[in-house]
């Protein structure tokens, strides 16, 4: 991408602008505070710019799909002007827009002797993965950390982040979902108390903060360019990262040319697995949970034509039996549905079993509160879409999937769902059931995935039971 740049004429530049713009590429409208001084920095060569759109590509989000561009009579350039609709939620980028980049002196961070203040201890397998991560930071290489749900992924990163910060590098930890970013923020702030940390998600207050350590949703990375020496991408398999090429683009664009890249996942895609197998991608595999108990293996259970049952206003027998047992022993549960519509229609049937059963889905404004009331045993259980397949940790939780044969339940989704069960050291076991109307490859793969990880953990003597 061509950067338009005037020769550097030394003058006392604004350090605020330097800090704000370093590692970013921003349109005029996102530089409101600097409008009075922007032109001077451009003519003196401290700020350069590139086209917002050219040759059918949006240079903020990488969009190239023709139906995601619009045309408008533009009052800024006075012409019919193309604009990107893909990233429009961050403000519009037009063909006549410029994305401004900092081209003045480099921003240097103060060197920190011991940035990490964390007193926890890594398990031997976490420590092993941590060593590999540090190595990746030192050698600017790419590493996949493949760790089962409940392995303690975040702690594995601490030393590697500390190594980067210690040597004056800039770090980004990106996750696809806001929930994850919100959860990681406080943990990293506690671990790195002296470091400037920006936590970014749609509508976050930190949007204007610089951050030597940036914790961000992948979407927010659209604003960055050539910024990070260490990029860590959490849940690299998760929606929306795998399905959306522009997020991949954003993650690549925001890395510096010489930088390290660490992918984190519990359920790598087959493409990642193939790359590991071929030896082209270095991996640290952690097959056991930090509490050293094996992961509960899902039970497959045929439940007949459940859609027909619901149409007749009944719950399939196998499912109601499973539910009755959970209710009898007050075991908190999640019951996963393939879509919202079926779940909504089925709720009244389930409320006959217990009036306090509720449901959650992606657009539910009370999602957090409902999960919290499950944690506090105020509701016996929740019906849910796949939105809760990740990130939820509730002691004693058990889970079941209804309609496991539906395509939305991929191997990775099912492994994640099973990963909700038995996470706490006090209750390391629990039931996970896949109710289905015909077995699919995906559910069989999910079961063998978990069995393989357990076997590998046993082989490496990582399991105590």
């Amino acid at each position: 991408m061509k950067i338009h740049l005037k020769p550097l004429i030394p003058f006392s530049f604004s350090t605020e602008l330097q800090i704000y713009l370093t590692g970013r590429a921003l349109p005029y409208d996102e530089l409101t505070d600097f409008h009075p001084i922007l032109e001077k920095h451009i003519t003196s060569g401290y700020v350069g710019w590139m086209d917002g759109l050219s040759q059918g590509t949006c240079h903020r989000c990488g969009n190239t799909e023709s139906h995601l561009f619009g045309e408008m009579p533009c009052s800024r350039c006075g012409k019919t002007c193309t604009y990107c609709r893909k990233c429009i939620m961050m403000g519009r980028v037009n063909a006549c827009s410029r994305l401004h980049v900092w081209t003045g002196p480099h921003l240097e961070y103060l060197l920190k002797e011991e940035p990490l203040k964390w007193s926890g201890k890594l398990s031997p397998q976490q420590a092993e993965a941590s060593r590999k991560a540090i190595e990746a930071v030192k050698t600017h290489s790419i590493l996949l950390i493949w760790a089962v749900c409940g392995a303690g992924k975040t702690e594995i990163l601490f030393e590697a982040i500390a190594e980067a910060i210690h040597t004056g590098k800039r770090v980004c930890l990106a996750a696809p979902r806001t929930d994850v970013v919100l959860e990681l923020g406080p943990r990293l702030k506690a671990a790195f108390p002296g470091i400037e940390i920006a936590v970014l998600y749609g509508g976050s207050e930190d949007r204007h903060h610089h951050g030597q350590l940036v914790i961000s949703t992948t979407h927010q990375l659209y604003r960055y360019r050539d910024a990070f020496d260490l990029m860590i991408i959490d849940e690299v398999d998760a929606f929306p990262f795998s399905g959306d090429p522009s997020l991949e683009y954003a993650a690549q664009k925001s890395r510096r040319e010489t930088s390290s890249l660490i992918y984190l996942t519990a359920t790598p895609s087959s493409e990642f697995k193939a790359r590991v197998k071929k030896g082209v991608l270095d991996a640290a595999i952690i097959p056991a949970r930090y509490h050293r108990h094996s992961i509960p293996v899902p039970e497959l259970s045929w439940c007949g034509n459940w859609e027909k049952s619901f149409a007749k206003k009944t719950i399939p027998k196998a499912v109601s039996k499973w539910l009755a047992e959970r209710l009898q022993f007050s075991t908190p549960f999640l019951l996963f549905f393939p879509n919202i519509k079926i779940m909504e229609e089925a709720l009244p049937l389930f409320q006959r079993l217990h009036p306090d059963i509720q449901y959650v889905h992606a657009e539910d404004p009370n999602r957090k509160e409902k999960v919290q009331s499950l944690r506090e045993n105020k509701v016996p259980g929740l019906l849910t879409t796949t939105i809760l397949e990740r990130g939820v940790t509730i002691p004693r939780l058990e889970a079941a999937v209804l309609g496991t044969e539906k395509p939305i339940f991929t191997e990775s989704a099912l492994v994640q769902i099973a990963g909700r069960v038995g996470r706490s050291a006090d209750h390391p076991t629990g039931n996970i059931s896949f109710f289905h109307y015909g077995k699919t490859e995906e559910m069989l793969d999910a079961v063998s995935h978990i069995k393989q990880m357990n076997a590998e953990a046993k082989r490496r003597d990582l399991i105590v039971e």
């Binding site: 408008m72 800024r76 429009i88």
Partner: protein, 230 residues
């Protein structure tokens, strides 16, 4: 080459039927909303205010319009407003993306419905409501003019904006009854029936301010069309 079309709002592929149709229509722009998005829109039907289209239990004129009509300064300034939809949550989000994010082409998704409602209006000229310079730069387009373009109407620039004063400092009463925000231009509109377009009808005050200036310049009747009625 098989050209797939997508819903203008939610971006899901449109049903093939539509795609076939658009193939035959050739050049026609394929800006459309999908059936599911359309279903989330709530059309204004049945009994409503004769002037402003607010849905209500009886025919006749709503209380707000009565208040306008009782004031000699505003009487008859707006003959009739037609709105397509109630301003529900879905439409609020859609309009926010249109107006505040500036997704210009969204308005063209309403083309069919706008043209249908347009057939009910008698007018000679279509006049866009001008934006302040600052707002126009910020947004990059004028949403009133865009609506006229979606109805394939040629805009007649019969209004301009008075140089902006800070609106927020004044009370609602002052804003509605005292402040003139629009001025007439050189365009001759005497004896003409005028159509205005705005995205949302809220209090009706913008449309009436525009209407009054036009009437003072000799326009006969002022009608308006909006996407939403809040």
């Amino acid at each position: 080459m098989w050209n797939k079309s997508y819903c203008l709002y939610c971006e899901l592929p449109l049903e093939e039927e539509t795609t076939w149709k658009s193939l035959f229509l050739g050049d026609e722009k394929k800006n459309e909303f999908c059936t599911e998005c359309l279903m989330k829109l709530q059309a204004i039907e049945g009994k409503r205010c004769k002037i402003c289209s607010r849905p209500q239990d009886e025919e006749g004129i709503c209380r707000d319009c009565q208040r306008w009509e009782e004031d000699p300064a505003w009487q008859g300034v707006l003959s009739r407003n037609l709105s397509l939809y109630t301003y529900n949550e879905f439409l609020k989000e859609l309009m926010a993306r249109y107006k505040y994010r500036g997704d210009y082409i969204l308005i063209f998704g309403f083309k069919k419905q706008l043209k249908k409602i347009l057939a009910e209006v008698t007018f000679d000229l279509a006049v866009p409501i001008p934006l302040s310079k600052e707002r126009l730069f910020e947004r990059g387009f004028n949403q009133s003019e865009a609506g006229l373009a979606a109805m394939d109407l040629r805009p007649i620039y019969a209004l301009k904006r008075k140089h902006s004063e800070k609106q927020s400092k004044k009370s609602r009463e002052e804003r509605i009854h005292l402040e003139e925000v629009f001025l007439p231009t050189e365009e001759d509109i005497s004896g003409k029936n005028i159509l205005l377009f705005d995205d949302i009808y809220t209090t009706g005050s913008t449309l009436r301010h525009a209407g009054r200036v036009l009437k003072e310049s000799g326009a006969l009747q002022i009608s308006s069309i909006t996407i939403a009625r809040s």
